[in-house]
């Protein structure tokens, strides 16, 4: 296989950096990691062929510092940079600087990124292209009076969003006029802190919607396809935590129509590489364009599982100027895939971020079980970065089996030392409304707001485990490990045997 690039720098950290490095391995391309002081013990540092130290923990002084990233690429002889998601992934300055330095950026061109990154401009562009949009403000602003007037015109409830937004930051639902001012201020503050831009806009809030997005791939030869949908309706704080594909809401006709619409969006933006077109899908089957994400998505693995593709490999191929792989034209959705995001957060306490040292780590395995992880035992989970630690993905012949498999995999995914919301996700997956496929974006608020875990039934087993652990020594904990295990002699393995007429047990 001819090498598409000499070496690829992965300008990210944790699980997505490791994921990208895996794609590099498949293509026989060496990878280079970058790491901050806080990530000196992180998995992605060791996983790459080389690693470059890029500075102190604050993202601005390391992972967000474009010049440090460019310098790291040049000093290690990389001819391409993959940004992962988050950090610089949607900053058009990075592809611009790459171009100046003769480095290939594995992602969309700066122009498409700029257009789609601006939620207002992209709405105008998509309206021109005939893509259905949610009614709302025609322009963004920082003036409260303008926002207030727009809210009255659109009609309550309304949604306030950050113009530069994403990831649920700077988003607020306002149900009545009295709540507007406080929500507006909070959204601005969050937007300012997260994106350095407090411009907000407002749109009609659609009740009982599903979040359905389409994966698209576009090459530099004018080919553009969609790779089906992902449903990401299960969200807390407007952040996805459980994603699946296919969506139970879509039939083949609707799927084909929305997929064609997604391709239209990508083409209207002159898009190249992998991207995701997000739609809100309402109870009556109407769908509205939300935004197009110009990066590989956190939840891309579910698409890979049901279609048998490697989307990061496709990203690299496209960036190298190759036309889309031929097999991509004949994809089907086989079975069902679900992803659970494993955040360092307390599922029993309002998803408050949790920090600490990972004291124990073991992954589930088995057919159709995939773990994309950025953590290892002994690693410190701090407050410097997004609390996502890993993603657990399962693939099964149908949705019912995928749910059962996911619950079992969650039980067998052991991370001790920091809190996770594993139990919360088990409760979502076990909920009859989830089983029935009635997954709307208010699922958690509606069905699990009052949820409490009754721990009394667990005190017994917890005490039993503590007492065993209190006497555990490496010898009995690792029962059967290493050379300490007494191997059974060949005689013991023989079972019943005979000498002459007598039988020995």
């Amino acid at each position: 296989m001819e090498k598409l690039f000499k070496k690829i720098l992965v300008a990210n950290r944790s699980e997505i950096a490791v994921r990208v490095m895996n794609a590099c391995k498949v293509l026989g391309i060496p990878s280079v990691a970058v790491y901050s002081e806080a990530d000196a013990r992180s998995k992605h540092r060791w996983y790459a062929d080389e690693a470059v130290f890029i500075g102190p923990p604050p993202p601005r002084e390391s992972y967000l510092d474009i010049e440090k990233i460019i310098e790291a690429a040049k000093s290690t002889g990389c001819d391409a940079i993959h940004p992962g998601y988050g950090f610089l992934a949607e900053n058009p300055l990075l592809p611009q600087r790459c171009e100046e330095e003769g480095i290939v950026f594995i992602g969309p061109p700066a122009g498409a990124m700029k257009l789609l990154g601006n939620k207002i401009e992209s709405r105008i562009k998509m309206a021109e292209a005939g893509i259905p949009l949610i009614p709302g403000m025609k322009s963004s602003g920082t003036d409260f009076e303008v926002v207030k007037k727009a809210a009255e015109e659109t009609g309550y409830p309304v949604m306030i969003k950050a113009a530069a937004g994403g990831g649920g930051k700077g988003m607020r639902i306002v149900r009545e006029p009295g709540e507007l001012k406080e929500a507006y201020e909070a959204a601005q503050r969050e937007a300012r802190n997260a994106f350095d831009d407090d411009t907000v806009y407002l749109e009609k809030y659609i009740a009982n919607p599903r979040h359905i997005e389409f994966q698209v791939l576009a090459d530099t030869h004018g080919n553009c396809i969609h790779v089906f949908e992902r449903e990401c309706s299960i969200q807390r704080r407007h952040q996805k935590i459980i994603e699946e594909t296919p969506s139970v809401a879509l039939d083949d006709a609707r799927r084909a129509a929305m997929g064609a619409e997604a391709v239209k969006v990508a083409k209207a933006a002159d898009y190249v590489n992998a991207g995701t077109v997000e739609f809100l899908y309402d109870e009556s089957g109407n769908y509205y364009f939300l935004e197009m994400n110009t990066r590989i998505q956190v939840e891309h693995p579910v698409t890979e599982m049901v279609t048998g593709t490697d989307l990061v490999v496709e990203q690299i191929r496209i960036a190298a100027g190759l036309p889309l792989n031929e097999h991509l034209g004949n994809l089907t959705q086989r079975g069902h895939a679900i992803e659970c995001r494993i955040y360092a957060e307390d599922g029993e306490n309002n998803f408050m971020p949790s920090t600490g040292k990972i004291l124990h780590y073991s992954e589930p395995c088995g057919p159709g079980v995939r773990v994309d992880s950025g953590i290892t035992a002994g690693m410190e989970v701090g407050i410097d970065y997004d609390p996502i630690m890993a993603k657990l993905i399962v693939h099964a012949p149908n949705r019912e089996m995928a749910i059962v498999k996911m619950i079992d995999a969650l039980h067998n995914y052991k991370i001790l030392g920091v809190k996770t919301s594993k139990k919360f996700m088990v409760d979502v997956l076990s909920h009859p409304e989830f089983a029935a496929g009635r997954t709307f974006t208010d699922f958690i608020e509606k069905h699990l707001a009052e949820r409490e875990v009754d721990l009394t039934g667990y005190a017994g087993i917890a005490a039993a485990l503590a007492s065993v652990a209190s006497v555990a020594t490496p010898a009995n904990n690792f029962n059967g490990g290493g050379t300490e295990r007494k191997m059974p002699s060949p005689w013991e393995l023989l079972g019943s045997w005979q000498i002459g007429d007598s039988i020995h047990e």
Binding site: K169, N193, M352, P353, I383, L455, S467, V468
Partner: protein
């Protein structure tokens, strides 16, 4: 035989441990648990007739436990001065702490204000997210120790209340 006491969910639980061949047999009250060591902090056991793999690891005087995705902590009663942080402070109702180190972006109450249970009091930004901290009891604001823009840790109370019984 090895008798021990642990603090689990704020209650003392007594267990009696016995080695049973390769396995451990533990008696907790009326209940008997048989744990088969699988190595690497993992044990196989039957819970309500179903086989589960459970995990436990000890760090200082705290045992961290995962049973069917439920995360539990057990402490040795001698674990004096357990630093605990937010966990311990959750039991304190007259002091409002930041859930994690961060920056105060808004304070919604002033000294002398009467507050209701669950009333929002302060917003702390950490990990790029705003975390609203609510009152855990009805009371009167006695002190506000920080101002908007201040960095806070989890050890110093942001707000102190006089609780009304």
């Amino acid at each position: 035989m090895n008798k021990q006491e642990f603090i689990i969910n704020d209650e003392a639980v007594e267990s009696t441990l016995e080695k049973n061949g390769e396995n451990f047999k533990v008696l907790v009250g009326e209940k008997e648990f048989v744990l088969q060591p699988m190595g690497n902090n993992l044990y196989a056991t039957y819970l309500n007739g179903k086989k589960s793999v459970v995990a436990v690891v000890k760090n200082r005087d705290v045992y961290y436990i995962d049973v069917d995705s439920v995360l539990l902590e057990a402490r040795e009663p001698s674990a004096e001065g357990f630093a605990g942080g937010a966990g311990d402070q959750a039991a304190v109702k007259d002091k409002i702490f930041a859930p994690m180190p961060g920056k105060i972006v808004k304070i919604m109450v002033a000294v002398g204000d009467e507050v209701e249970i669950k009333q929002p009091m302060v917003i702390v930004e950490a990990m790029k997210m705003e975390n609203q901290v609510n009152a855990k009891a009805k009371g009167k604001v006695k002190a506000v120790n920080f101002a908007v823009g201040d960095q806070v840790d989890t050890e110093t109370p942001i707000i102190e209340l006089e609780i009304e019984e």
